[in-house]
Symmetry: C2
Amino acid sequence: MDNNKIISSAVIRRLPRYYRYLGELMEGGIQRISSNELSTKMKVTASQIRQDLNNFGGFGQQGYGYNVKSLYDEIGKILGIDHTHNMIIIGAGNLGQAIINYKDFEKRGFIIKGVFDNDMKLEGKTISGVLVRMTDKMTEFIMENNIEIVALTIPKKCAREIGKIVADAGVKAIWNFAHTDLNLPDDVIVENVHLSESLMRLSYTIANKSK
Amino acid sequence: MDNNKIISSAVIRRLPRYYRYLGELMEGGIQRISSNELSTKMKVTASQIRQDLNNFGGFGQQGYGYNVKSLYDEIGKILGIDHTHNMIIIGAGNLGQAIINYKDFEKRGFIIKGVFDNDMKLEGKTISGVLVRMTDKMTEFIMENNIEIVALTIPKKCAREIGKIVADAGVKAIWNFAHTDLNLPDDVIVENVHLSESLMRLSYTIANKSK
DNA sequence: TAGATTGTTAATCGATTAACAATC
DNA sequence: TAGATTGTTAATCGATTAACAATC
């Protein structure tokens, strides 16, 4: 595998879905699968699956197909979920709570080390076992606990400011749920989850589907 | 405008973002903008903006640029948010509550008519003014209240079953937050929000960013 | 070995960018 | 009118699909 090769974001976008399907095959006790069978299940072309995987190496075997477990593990490694990531949530509202309560993230190695909010009434409380801290302790906490990822589940109006603070504190990536772009330096990774945009795309499709 | 022309999903994906930037310009009192100025703000090419918009008609004026308010309105129409959509939430957990509490959806015309859950303890309670009903009343409610959109904020294991029920009840679109594909007939629109996939893409970027 | 299926190259298709004539 | 900026065509770039030789 050529570590310097740049993989297109179209490929990366599909990897987690492969990972999910392979996980389900494993749960179903399936040990091998061909690109053709997988393509039928996933409603993509077999060609695309083989092209995508071969960006990272030859994981299959001619005449046999792919070993489900080992392909699953390989994709896990590629996605960087073969090791843990320390994470905090900023914003203890429903969305922040939803992320904390969804235990699968933790299973995948995303360890939630704390929740931050500026509502004094929440100080010292716990949400699903995670302690709520006040926002002014954030920078110190990030540096002392080796926090890599921040989930920003706060309103748009304060998102940029907080984004800048956590970027300065040295986090590697921000998972941004605020309905705005953060405009941070390029060395900070930002993965946006813009729910309002998702809902508008859905609305577009309702308005324009042909039949 | 040619109503039969099929617009690529790459274009549709960008429209809500244009809409958001135009909204912010309006709030800032800006009345006109050129594709070039907008391209700088949004970090895309001016060419792309002009190409994208011209899929739907010539909204600009040579030598002048685009009128912010009227372009905003036009994109709103294209996205189908110039009129209301009745919506229900299935799953009264944190994620469902987050959607109900986020008042901007309602402002954009997505009217939340009810929340459904199978937890008997919640029956008759309200979440931010929206009544929680039991899942067995769902089909009847959808048909009687002209529900177009269902937000599925329930665990993966029951998502497919519920998806099928609401599709049969006649909803046009499902906003799917469950970590699975729904595999419904093509006439039901499904917009997926797979948070775990988003987080894995973020993880990939952490593992593979060059500098 | 024969059959199956990958890995990979070539062909096609689509999306983005560049360029510029049209026009306000 | 002159300058600015669109709308639109052409050129480029990238992603997907098809095809098939390599090989298990």
